[in-house]
């Protein structure tokens, strides 16, 4: 029995007029057939009864379930309603899913980040469905004059066995809306699930494949203008002056002006990261006209002065230093190498690592690097804003609507309740849309123009305005005694401008003498979270090192990890080890079994890796074949423990995406800088993985352990970079230490 939160209790009676036109509406569950049968054409109800913030039921049994979290391609818009529908015991055929508005009085954590939507939503979603079901049962019990304990439900029907009475959910919806919200509800046992754990296709699938307007960039409003920005070409520069005479005279151009995105002295938050606060803005009637005028603006730039700011960061404060100067990738590398050889901050120390390294017979030391990366969501940054003296209407793709509502309120000088943020489907997020400066930019432009405006970034703007994945460096050292036993382990890592260390992760806890240190190099290049922050580098580095360590120790790489995990399980070293050794070993065992590890596969070269992040355990094997001296990835096998899998088809898709993402970035992508200027500004110079380079086959196995569900958006891409490096070693005899592995560094500007 679980207590129900009172905030779900607000009930209102609403008419169907809120829905466009009423009448007939096509449900989405006819995807397999494409041409709906009459039964599949849902008739829109005449009246809706709002049972709680998550759902409303029509008099004809059609149910609308609100999907609370932003959809960035991680499938929450299908998976979260599935959880509500399960506890409601509704027939999925009669479910319509709607993106919920931003409303923190009803929904918790309307954020897409950290692979946490399902994990945090799990309880609340189930309770929303279960309380509604309980209210329907109570309404029926009252109507039939029978005890509620004798009422059962099944697939949108309410039954009373003894009297033989039955009713559809729709018939009881109006009465249910007036039932007291129960204080407690019983949630289903996993064995009773009929929707959770079954594959349900994407609720927006039909709209996506027919090109319906879904994304922020597709949003349009009567009288809407288009805006674009001109920003400094290099990090370390700011606007000095600009000449807009030509641009202003061009066809369709309404205005050209300068904005300060955030106001000096205003309080900002972690998600207000911005690279260039002063921008030149061009506003006009159509995109092409504005694009052309943008090119006709000439600017003078000047170097920034160094500064330090503190911003609130989840209850703490975070210091952000912005030095002056024009930076270069070569210098960053030299600075990182120097920092890796200087003293650093000790984050964790077990035993006496210095002494162990002193008495070691063999020391293995290796260093790894990775460059800045641009998120490159395929839909560039954009936002719609209509700001008037009374209110702000903001529509677009944002991962942090809850936070950005506050920032917009501060910047526009409007009270919070006058800021209305609507979330559109996002053409990718990967962390980039956590940082909503573009929402503020759109709002400031609209306020100035006193008109509805859509701000659009060109790809070049999107790729050269920073908020990159940091550049990283890590040095690993292992000490072996004369019998090749591992006696000490040392990781020292950092980056520009952040470190990727998670000191309490494996192999912490498995080695008696352990040392984890970190350092940072300050920079004026802005950075932000990038799918599996930190892990997206450190996992690959660590897993490559463990592979080389196993080889040095004369051990099979899976066996070495299992031995270490056995120690972490039976006699863990230190405290705060943040993984469960048994589940970790579980995915390694599963992959060993599923892949037939150890068998010699003619012409195929295999590498293995395993990692734990975002509460999920993953092991992967990459299989490479060499063809004309080039590696072809034949197959990737993954074993995943993310607890209960809500929607297997979507989970597998997401896992495949993570794998391709990891391989792609580890192999091909990099942002390099010359005098502060990013040397890549579009997909002709910035390489993303393409069809031909993707693995020919991907096989994903989920551990079936019925534990609470955890994240899946991120954990698949970090380890695969290690598995790839290890497979490349087997295939070429060469170890790969520096990402991107498959691009000649000389070609990268």
């Amino acid at each position: 029995m679980t207590l129900v939160k009172i905030s779900h209790g607000r009930r209102t009676f609403i008419k169907s007029s809120a829905l466009a036109g009423g009448g007939m509406m096509i449900g989405f569950s006819w995807l397999a057939s494409c041409k709906p049968t009459p039964e599949q054409l849902l008739t829109m109800p005449k009246e809706w009864f709002k049972i709680n913030g998550f759902l409303k039921i029509g008099e004809n049994g059609v149910v609308t379930i609100m999907s609370p979290n932003p959809e960035i391609g991680q499938n929450v818009k299908t998976s979260m309603p599935m959880i509500v529908a399960e506890e409601l015991d509704v027939d999925w055929k009669y479910v319509i899913v709607e993106q919920a508005p931003l409303d923190t009085s009803i929904f918790n954590r309307q954020l897409a980040g950290g692979s946490q939507s399902i994990r945090h939503g799990w309880e609340g979603l189930r309770m929303a469905g279960a309380t509604a079901r309980q209210m329907l049962k109570e309404a029926a019990a009252k109507a039939w004059g029978v005890p509620v304990s004798e009422i059962t439900t099944e697939a949108s029907m309410i039954h009373h066995k003894n009297s033989g009475k039955s009713a559809g959910y729709g018939e009881m919806a109006s009465a249910a809306a007036n039932i007291e919200v129960p204080k407690e509800v019983k949630l289903k046992e996993i064995s009773e699930y009929k929707i959770i754990g079954t594959s349900r296709n994407n609720v927006d699938g039909q709209k996506i494949v027919t090109g319906k307007p879904l994304f922020g960039l597709d949003y349009k409003k009567e009288g809407m203008l288009v805006a674009m920005i001109v920003h400094p070409p290099a990090f370390g520069l700011k606007l000095k002056s600009f000449d807009d005479a030509t641009a202003k005279a061009m066809p369709g151009i309404k205005d050209v002006f300068k904005i300060d995105v955030y106001k000096e002295g205003d309080e900002t938050q972690w998600c207000d990261t911005i690279s260039f606060n002063e921008l030149v803005v061009v506003v006009g009637s159509t995109t092409w006209e504005v694009m052309n005028a943008k090119k006709a603006i000439t600017c003078e730039w000047e170097q920034i002065k160094s500064k330090e700011i503190e911003v609130p960061f989840f209850g703490k404060t975070k210091k952000i230093s912005t030095p002056s100067g024009l930076e270069n990738t070569d210098d960053h590398l030299a600075q990182m190498i120097a920092a890796s050889k200087s003293s650093a901050t000790v984050v964790r120390k077990d035993g006496d690592p210095e002494a162990a390294f002193k008495k070691a017979t063999t020391i293995l030391e290796r260093s790894y690097t990775a460059p800045f990366l641009a998120h490159s969501t395929l839909e560039p940054m954009n936002f719609f804003a209509h700001v008037t003296a009374e209110k702000a209407e903001l529509v677009g793709p944002i991962q942090t609507p809850e936070f950005m509502e506050k920032s917009a309120s501060t910047r526009l000088g409007l009270p919070l309740d006058k800021i209305d943020i609507q979330m559109t489907r996002m053409g990718g997020g990967f962390g980039r849309r956590l940082y909503g400066h573009f929402l503020i930019e759109a709002a400031v432009i609209s306020q100035k123009m006193n008109a509805p405006v859509k701000l659009i970034y060109t790809r070049e703007d999107d790729m050269t305005t920073g908020i990159y994945r940091p550049a990283y460096h890590a040095t690993y050292r292992a000490a072996l005694d004369e019998n090749k036993n591992l006696i000490a382990f040392h990781v020292k890592t950092g980056g520009v401008p952040e470190s990727s260390l998670s000191a309490n992760r494996f192999p912490a806890g498995a080695v008696d003498n352990y040392l984890a240190e970190e350092w940072t190099v300050v920079s004026n290049v802005s950075v932000g979270a990038f799918r599996a922050p930190g892990s997206n580098f450190i996992a690959g580095a660590e897993q490559s090192f463990l592979d080389e360590l196993a080889e040095t120790m004369g051990k099979d790489p899976i066996d070495l990890r299992l031995e270490l995990l056995e120690k972490a399980k039976t006699s863990p070293v230190g405290k705060d080890n943040d993984y469960e050794a048994e589940r970790y070993a579980g995915v390694l065992q599963l992959i060993k079994e599923k892949s037939g590890w150890g068998k010699d596969l003619a012409g195929l070269h295999r590498g293995v890796a395993a990692y734990f992040c975002h509460n999920t355990y993953v092991a992967q094997i990459v299989e490479i074949e060499m063809k004309d001296n080039a590696p072809i990835i034949k197959k990737v096998t993954a074993a995943v423990d993310c607890g209960l899998v809500i929607n297997p088809v979507a989970a597998t898709n997401l896992a495949e995406g993570g794998i391709i993402d990891g391989i792609g970035h580890g192999s091909y992508s990099a942002i390099t800088l010359k005098d502060g200027v990013p040397q890549q500004n579009n997909f002709n110079t910035y390489r993303l993985i393409r069809h031909r380079e993707a693995p020919k086959e991907i096989e994903v196995h989920f551990v079936d352990n019925k534990k609470d569900p955890t994240g899946l958006g991120e954990p698949l891409n970090p380890p695969v970079i290690g598995a790839l490096a290890n497979a490349l070693y087997k295939a070429t005899g060469k170890r790969y230490y520096d990402q991107p592995f498959l691009v000649d560094p000389k070609l990268m500007g």
């Binding site: 898709n653 997401l654 995406g657 993570g658 993985i689 993707a694």
Partner: protein, 152 residues
């Protein structure tokens, strides 16, 4: 500004635009057809793929003045009720993640199958190579193209 009569998805539409305007922005801004997406603007990502007569083209670099009386097909007009074999296969394989690249992927795949009813894996890969998917749905796309080929 100049007037153009465009044959789009079986109907004729008239627009009055600067002749250098790429077809992509004519579709999106002037005709309210936003299924064709903007990803790069330089023919490097494939998000804006349409058919000109039966050939897949990148609408972001195709000036409207170059269209002439060739037939334009966009994702909105690929089939009347969303049931082109490629669209059906996309749903069957539940291909989309964020979905942003998928209109372009579908248009490229449909053009490929029109020209080559039974493409090999290599032929699929090379035809689709110009279409980026940042979410990494490539393996699923390949499987869906094969399913569509069977059902054409």
């Amino acid at each position: 500004m100049a007037t153009f009569n465009l044959k789009i998805n079986g109907t004729t539409k008239t627009v009055d635009v600067d002749p250098t305007t790429p077809l992509l922005w004519v579709l999106r801004d002037h005709l309210d057809m936003v299924g064709t997406k903007f990803g790069c603007g330089i023919a490097s990502c494939g998000a804006c793929t349409i058919h000109l007569d039966d050939t897949a083209m990148r609408a972001c670099v195709l000036p409207i003045s170059a269209v002439g009386d060739q037939k334009i097909t966009t994702i909105e007009g690929l089939s009347e009720s969303g049931d082109h074999p490629v669209q059906k296969a996309w749903l069957e394989h539940d291909v989309p993640q964020c979905g942003y690249c998928q209109a372009g992927q579908i248009m490229t795949a449909a053009a490929l199958l029109k020209e080559n009813a039974n493409p090999s894996d290599e032929e699929i890969e090379s035809a689709m190579n110009g279409n980026l998917c940042r979410c990494g749905t490539y393996t699923r796309i390949k499987a869906a193209v094969k399913t569509a080929a069977k059902n054409m």
